[in-house]
Symmetry: C2
């Protein structure tokens, strides 16, 4: 394990280079506003809607950027990743678009819809037993056997730089903002966004938001080192990470102002607001940023004229589950 001080952290220049690589491949997602949110919370919100990104989440940006940098030999052998979530589909789709093979290692009991979606993007799915097998060891063995390049879900400079392009686009469209709220799981989106914020809006306060049950990021920030927790129980399945990465923590401790936590009930409240008032489907993890902003503004009303950026990370939620969450009161 390398110490952060000796690691070469990605910079905003890497975000700029990533933006050039994904241009024309990733969607430039819309930035939406809401008069209702403005009236209710007293600030002007700018929602960067990565739920409208390819495969339904920002993860496409980082995966496509990472795979784009493969050399000829790497492209021939292809990419491998372990994920049961959005990263799986991001690597699978990016590999298909770049004409290379992909293997995704997924748990045997992953939802059928996710297995089908990943296979639908043309990837080979290798199943493992969560109770008897070590997925990292399995993945590394497969990578070695097949000469494939492992693409980690968040703790990689190319992945972080790719994720930072969403905030770059946001600031380019809105100009400087007073605050930026970002969904925090392993920290790829948060650290990439922080790089963009520090370069494009140096005075902007940057906040990561994670589930109450999975507050390893907050604990790590307070402790000054990466704190590991057990897999948290939360509806925010994309933020069930147990620990930040070394790269992501290195950037977060330097560039992020604070980390907030929200309850599952607050996530559902935000999800309902997105559906009812903004007409968009946002997955529980994607609701973290706005739920965190609402909580902060309820605790302390904003200054007059504050402009707040919200990165909405994704919209991949099983429809039956989504209907249940909307209907529950």
């Amino acid at each position: 394990m390398k110490a952060c001080s000796t690691m070469q952290l990605p910079t905003y220049d890497d975000v700029i280079a990533a933006a050039a690589r994904i241009e024309g491949h990733a969607h430039r997602t819309p930035v939406l506003q809401s008069a209702t949110a403005q009236a209710r919370w007293g600030a002007q919100f700018f929602f960067k809607c990565e739920n409208f990104q390819r495969m339904g989440a920002f993860k496409f940006r980082g995966a496509f950027n990472a795979l784009s940098k493969f050399d000829a030999a790497q492209r021939k052998a292809g990419a491998i990743a372990f994920s049961s979530g959005n990263h799986a589909q991001a690597v699978a789709l990016s590999a298909r678009m770049l004409g290379m093979p992909a293997v995704i290692v997924m748990p045997q009991d992953a939802p059928a819809a996710k297995l089908a979606a990943t296979r639908g993007y043309g990837a080979e799915v290798v199943l493992y037993d969560r109770f008897t097998e070590d997925r990292e060891a399995l993945t590394q063995r497969l990578a070695a056997e097949r000469g494939m390049t492992l693409v980690p879900p968040y703790d990689h400079p190319d992945v972080i730089a790719g994720q930072g392009t969403a905030a770059k686009e946001l600031f380019e469209e809105t100009g400087a903002l007073d605050r930026l709220y970002i969904c925090l799981g392993g920290g790829g989106l948060t650290s990439g966004s922080a790089l963009a914020a520090r370069a494009l809006a140096p005075k902007c306060k940057v906040y990561g938001v994670e589930p109450e049950a999975g507050d390893d990021g907050l604990q790590s920030l307070r402790a000054g080192r990466i704190v590991r927790i057990a897999t948290p129980k939360t509806i925010a399945d994309g933020a069930q990470t147990q620990y930040l990465g070394e790269y992501t923590f290195g950037i977060i401790r330097r560039d992020v102002d604070d980390i907030l936590t929200v309850s599952d009930a607050q996530l559902v409240e935000a999800m309902r607001f997105f559906a009812e008032r903004m007409k968009m489907v946002v997955e529980p993890t994607g609701c973290l940023s706005f739920a965190g902003a609402c909580k902060a503004l309820e605790e302390k009303p904003p200054a007059k004229g504050e402009r707040i950026g919200i990165i909405v990370s994704g919209g991949n939620v099983d429809l039956a589950r989504y209907a249940e969450l909307l209907a529950a009161r």
Copy 2:
């Protein structure tokens, strides 16, 4: 009742003038694409997302344009409308933004949420009994008593011109398209869109899509005169109109290539597609256009490289009802 031939139908110049009036007040809504739709139906789709418009539907465009043209005396007395749907909120919000009073005549048994939303936009709501009172007579009496100007929901040149700005924006962003599908109720959106299509993409085929149960538009087109039907039973509550207007029919018979119908089941299928694959909430009426396009493409596959515009009209659906429709299989 004036004959169509002697009526001064609005033109594309009126759409251009409306676009200038609403600029900075209406949202320029995003145009989204879907790789999944392209793979499934073999054509490239461009979705003009009026569900992200202010108050959640295209209706804001027409109402704001109409109210913007009021003279000083009209502004002082304000606007009056009868509607239990999106037009009510469109007039209420436009009046508030333009600083004039508004009265909306709504049925006593309108959903509480709609009454609250309309009052929330600052309008005075006057209730009537659907079983014993004539809402048009009541509205006209109120308009006369208070000197207010009646804003009809669709059959008015300024309303039609305003609704046409959505298609204008779409064509400006995409260039010419091969086909355009539009949700058809009273014909305001369809006729306005047709004006824009004829001017900006003369070869584009233009289709209105209405519910099977409410096919008065199709009947009218076939008969060459406005056919009236009983209030149709359909989940597309915004298309429960009983007849086209004289202005809207005048344009539709001239500029629309054909009218298609779809079943409620096809609307739910489209609604689920929008939620699951495009991450957006679309009300049943707003699903008409895409459901019609899918039906047409299933009956006859598109030519290679076809580019199809879809006007998604709105996203105002009660959340509990929406959850029910998503969950039903």
